[in-house]
């Protein structure tokens, strides 16, 4: 069975403190600490492209010795902010920059915050059916390309980052039944407008997260034959501390769904794999992952440690 062998990530070193900009937006320090939960955001360096973020994450993975780059036969990049104009696909650029072998499937997936979880379903299924053995699933969606720096709804929230998930046989983590939601009629709540900048209807996004995400999580547990009490850790998309805390309170799972993006911000599709890599520990055997946002959409799944 194809599953997750390892996850690595990369966060740019450059940071901008939100406290230095709080006055600009008439926000209090307590709002930044307790609601946003983001004290500083990570920003890509000058000229650092989406593919460069992926390459940096891959180098972190390769340095661990868990994969031989010559064995990679599948490369997928989840992004809505690709290199250049999106043609050629960023996965082909990453493929070239990493010097990967030519017998390799490479494609991009155009999803936002639900993208990692949804792509995990798509890529593991494709690898399983075509007997691909060594996949690299990247996420990199540098919103610094589309953020309006004068917009109080988004300017202090989103940070840049990337992740890479090594997929293959004999995995450490296996996923079974996924849960997917798309409410296309609410797509305007997160949208890049004609000026090329992101617009977010914070209230609409919040209501969607507070109502539809707990439902998705409950369905996911049920369809996998477990209860919420059986789940050791919940890795939820780090939309903001307020959203994570709200979902946790509504599900009664406080203490098992920590927010951990204080120093770099909401990294969109990278937030779930980054949080997973940073927080899941040896005692965790059953982990729920849920990504939600652009679309508006949700993808949720249970990951079980192999052998448990």
């Amino acid at each position: 069975m194809i599953g997750i062998i390892d996850i690595a990530y990369y966060l740019p070193e450059r940071r901008v403190s939100n406290f230095t900009r709080a006055g600009e937006f008439a926000l209090t320090d307590s709002f930044i600490n307790d609601k946003l939960g983001v004290k500083s955001i990570a920003l890509s360096g000058e000229g650092q492209e989406t593919s460069d973020l992926c390459v940096a994450a891959a180098k972190n993975l390769f340095s661990r010795g868990t994969v031989n780059p010559a064995d990679v036969d599948c490369v997928v990049v989840v992004t809505q902010n690709p290199d250049g104009h999106g043609l050629p696909h960023t996965s082909a650029i990453v493929h070239a920059k990493l010097g990967l072998p030519p017998r390799c499937l490479a494609f991009d997936i155009g999803l936002g915050c639900s993208g990692f979880v949804a792509a995990l379903s798509v890529v593991t299924a494709a690898m399983q059916s075509q007997r691909l053995r060594c996949g690299l699933l990247f996420t990199a969606d540098p919103y610094s390309k589309i953020i309006d720096r004068s917009d109080r709804n988004t300017a202090l929230l989103f940070g840049d980052g990337a992740s890479v998930t090594l997929l293959g046989e004999d995995p450490v983590w296996e996923a079974e039944t996924f849960d997917f939601v798309t409410t296309g009629d609410k797509r305007d709540a997160l949208i890049v407008r004609d000026n090329g900048l992101l617009h977010m209807n914070g209230r609409a996004v919040f209501e969607f997260c507070a109502t539809a995400v707990p439902e998705s999580i409950r369905r996911t547990a049920q369809s996998n034959g477990i209860t919420l009490d059986d789940i050791d850790r919940f890795v939820l998309h780090h939309g903001s501390k307020f959203i994570v805390d709200t979902i946790a309170a509504r599900l009664g799972i406080n203490g098992r769904a920590a927010f951990d993006a204080t120093d770099f911000g909401n990294t969109v599709s990278s937030s779930v794999p980054v949080a997973f890599a940073r927080n899941v520990c040896a005692d965790d055997n059953t982990v729920l992952i849920s990504g939600f946002g652009v679309g508006l959409s949700i993808a949720s799944a249970i990951l079980r440690r192999a052998g448990h």
């Binding site: 709002f31 609601k35 209807n201 914070g202 209230r203 609409a204 919040f206 209501e207 507070a210 109502t211 307020f242 709200t246």
Partner: protein
Amino acid sequence: MNESDVRSVIAESVPGFDVSTLGLESEFDKSGIDSLDHSVILLGLQEKHGLVVPDEDLDQANSIGKILAYAAKRSG
């Protein structure tokens, strides 16, 4: 829906906030209730009392008194 119902929703929606400090006409954003808290209050009113306040009417629902008036207008 009466004043007590609205105060109850506010108390549940904004933990730690002393709802007794709010007068009928106290505007939320000037009383320590931020925009995120306001969103939670509106969601609570929708879930518990069926009151739906569209985005374009937000300024008609930023105090207890305005919420009661808005609800009366919608039901009338």
